[in-house]
Symmetry: C2
Subunit: 367 residues, 2 copies
């Protein structure tokens, strides 16, 4: 018996998710480069690569260092790195390990710093991708400006792979299809801008879990995408559940908790306190979310409040139930990426109940 | 030069905060037992004890284990522990180290399990405190029922120190004074219930930062409280800033970030992306918060969106400013407790710019 709260992975469900997305990418003829920020785990990365992923996506130099140390030899840091301080030498150090490395850029300054940081190392396995904004309005330049920045990178002696974007606006109940269309539109403009500058553009990279995981979003044969970078699909979370992107049965991640306090409401509802709070589930809550996560065993329950070590769960008509103190419930957090980032180990449970501990090796690797 | 993002402590400001709260408790004649879940750091705990704290409050057995290992010999686990599995033996193990340990209970079952778990060890340094609900509706029983549960604990061979509560409803702009009154009212009822059962009740413990940190909440000389358990006061955060509880100049914690992307809006605002997201700041956001934290250098800026590695900062009328790519900004997170829990080390900066690394030894100590 393991003390709660702990983070649990259902390995059989994980494998189904990995196989399904790999088959989807194969069927569409695009490369799959999963975002490792979701799991931060070399064990899951190895399984993704075994299913045919061409490499991994990461967000930071530190994540790249962790996965490189675990033998992953093809990495895309999909982030507009600012290479001052020790980070510049750390990035150059990655190249001396012989891995294939692609780095995001969205500014002339970023291009210059990348060229400077790698001036003294072998750049033959380094490339850049131009980040464009497709409506999420985070990082990324206007798609029509991609060609000019690609030209700058080329002139600085850097190899340009192509363009990428992140359709983060897809994380809303009604935004998924539109975001997928925005993504394609922006990437097409960006690709055409690069080729108009006289440069090849073999890479057109996009894809969040909501815009890639569903068959109805599979697009016409002239789809512009050549690479997908979904992250959450591997494990699933309550956001994807409530968006309708991932069925509850396909969620591989949960936090096992214990009911430590209970009181019944006058309305017949049971009000339960479990021992997982924001330090086990993370506090992410989109405006459209039903609460701070979902309870696997009670889909009608709502997590109405979250403290650091308490979640308050209301079970409608649960007052007469046998939900007793000490019973264990599995909570699916709203956002699996931030929840995984809170633990050092994942308890991976196999088909026969056998358990392994998988290290979250890139936990906190933010720099 | 240190790579961003990193968590920074201003040691001089920290010391001012510790001294101010210690003086406040002394002036009121109450014991101060700071909640260590805020900092999870033995270095800060040692400073709190040096300022006269009687011991520490923690939320879990794992936190107690960490601070006990660092020499703290008086701990209150202010949580209704469910002592099944290895946790029961771990709790008993704490007692064999010779420390003074108080444990929260809010159920007959919890009392029974605590008595069972400690049946074979020396209980002379163990006590319990009855948790009562003062309106936050998390854990805790009705105040008038405290005496009955205290009697059960006493009959089970446990020493009852008294009663405690947490006025978590104080974390709203207009709720602080009322929460402080609710807290006193509930604790008075609970104390009287225990003494009516014929048991002494030397401990009456309460106190969140909003209900303790301000002079205008200092109450009449017959105040019921004998112990305060504030946590956030040591470091401060954007919630306390926006609640008006802590002045910006008294916030000792910040996450140092770099501007990695910028675009200007048509309205004259600058839209900046910095490299600290929910994995560095945590996602906590109360309904009344202005955003996902505050920017020390630009109090008029708002953090309008947060991804895992991006915060989107809008600086009104900032388009013409010199907020350039690569500039560093200090972001104060909404909730310092969850932000500290994301890092392994705090960069503690002294009065002369000297830096020490303080280990967040109880990070992730949730069980």
């Amino acid at each position: 018996m393991r003390d709660t709260p702990y983070a649990r992975i259902d390995v059989a469900v994980l494998e189904q998710n990995l196989a399904r997305m790999a088959a989807y990418a194969r069927a569409r003829g695009v490369a799959l480069r999963p975002h490792a920020k979701t799991h931060k785990s070399p064990d899951i990365a190895a399984r993704q690569l075994a299913h045919g992923a061409v490499g991994l996506t990461v967000a930071t130099v530190a994540e790249a260092e962790v996965f490189a140390a675990h033998g992953v030899d093809d990495l895309f840091i999909a982030y507009p790195l600012w290479l001052d301080g020790p980070r510049a030498a750390r990035l150059a150090g990655l190249l001396t390990r012989g891995l294939r490395l692609r780095v995001g850029v969205d500014s002339v300054e970023g291009v210059r710093m990348l060229a400077d940081a790698t001036a003294d190392v072998d750049r033959s396995r380094l490339s850049v991708a131009i980040e464009v904004d497709c409506g999420h309005h985070r990082s990324g330049i206007e798609p029509h400006a991609a060609g000019e920045l690609a030209q700058r990178a080329h002139d600085s002696g850097l190899t340009v792979d192509g363009v990428f974007t992140f359709p983060g606006q897809s994380y809303t109940p009604d935004g998924m299809s539109e975001a997928a269309m925005d993504e394609r539109r922006a990437l097409r403009v960006a690709r055409d801008s690069v080729t108009a500058a006289g440069l090849p553009c073999p890479l057109v990279s996009g894809g969040s879990t909501p815009t890639t995981a569903r068959d109805e979003l599979a697009v016409e044969s002239d789809d512009v995408l050549t690479e997908l970078r979904p992250g959450v699909y591997a494990l699933g979370d309550a956001q994807q559940w409530e968006l309708g992107v991932i069925e509850p049965a396909s969620i591989a991640f949960g936090v096992v908790t214990t009911i430590v306090s209970r009181r019944d409401g006058e309305d017949g509802a049971a009000r339960l306190i479990v021992d997982a709070g924001s330090k086990a589930l993370a506090s992410d809550r989109a405006s459209w979310a039903s609460g701070y996560g979902r309870v696997v065993e009670h889909p009608d329950a709502r997590i109405v409040a979250l403290s650091e070590h308490h979640a308050t769960i209301v079970v409608p008509h649960g007052a007469a139930s046998d939900l007793a103190l000490g019973e264990r419930l599995t909570v699916v957090p709203n956002h699996v990426c931030t929840a995984v980032n809170l633990v050092d180990e994942l308890v991976a449970v196999g088909r026969h109940g056998d358990e392994e501990l998988w290290v979250v090796a890139a936990r906190g690797a933010n720099t």
